[in-house]
């Protein structure tokens, strides 16, 4: 699986306006709705589900990245986006450090394999020091989209 199979380039937010976790989740889900990737009417429910998921255990897995994700009946096709915060956001991360890069993933229910494959490719890239560094430094939507393309091409 490749990142561009589910990351919606139009929905990338190069500079999150939100300064807290819940605000960042809402901003990214709204961006997906604006890009037409999910229904506008699903935004509130999906954001609530993501917040609940974070409360059960932070998806801030350390090293400045978080991967909030949820399976939701109002999501008909797996979609994702990326948000970047220059100042960092408190995600209650495992290492207690701020999060600078957020990869958000929304999956339909009953497709666990697809979800695991997407998480696999997201974390395979996030494990790479250079990928995390470039992602944190990419200040425009295009720069982030280009970085994801390069990752998909194995550069």
């Amino acid at each position: 699986m490749k990142l561009n199979e589910f990351i919606v380039a139009d929905a990338i937010v190069a500079e999150l306006a939100a300064t807290d976790r819940d605000g960042a989740l809402r901003e990214l889900v709204t961006s997906l709705a604006t890009a037409g990737a999910i229904e506008q009417g699903a935004v509130d429910d999906v954001v609530a589900a993501l917040i609940k998921r974070e409360q059960n255990g932070s998806t801030g897995f350390g090293k400045g990245v978080a991967v909030p994700h949820v399976k939701h009946p109002k999501v008909t096709k797996m979609v994702g986006t990326v948000g970047r915060s220059a100042n960092g956001i408190d995600f209650a991360a495992l290492d207690n450090q701020p999060v600078y890069s957020v990869v958000l993933l929304l999956s339909p229910e009953n497709q666990p394999q697809q979800h695991l494959n997407a998480m696999n490719i997201v974390f395979t890239n996030l494990q790479k020091d250079m990928f995390r560094k470039f992602l944190r430094q990419s200040g425009t939507k295009q720069a982030i989209a280009d970085l994801l393309d390069e990752a998909d091409q194995g550069k």
């Binding site: 897995f61 666990p112 394999q113 695991l116 998480m119 696999n120 974390f123 996030l126």
Partner: protein
């Protein structure tokens, strides 16, 4: 150093997604032993059982055969506790 291992199969429907991976790492961190997790099958892999990211990258689906290996003074207890997580389907209903 004593070591122990056990073969298990992923039995929960959702597979080894983020929550079970974190639960596994939490339990693994309670032991001094080094923990290694091997994934068999078409796309074999290996993870440090104390790294959430590495565990998620395994992307082990329901039915995937795996092996838990521990190396250290508390290896037996670690393998037992970690295998029980899989056997209990990580607390998931199916």
């Amino acid at each position: 150093m004593p070591n122990a291992s056990k073969d298990i199969v992923v039995s929960n429907k959702l597979g080894l997604h983020a929550r079970p991976a974190m639960q596994f790492v939490d339990v693994a961190n309670g032991f001094a032993s080094e923990i290694k997790v091997l994934k068999f099958g078409d796309e074999p892999g290996e993870a440090d059982g104390k790294s959430v990211m590495q565990m998620i990258i395994l992307a082990a689906t329901e039915g995937t055969p795996m092996r838990i290996e521990a190396d250290g003074d508390d290896a037996d207890a670690a393998v037992k506790a970690l295998a029980e997580l899989f056997e209990s389907k990580f607390g998931e209903e199916e």
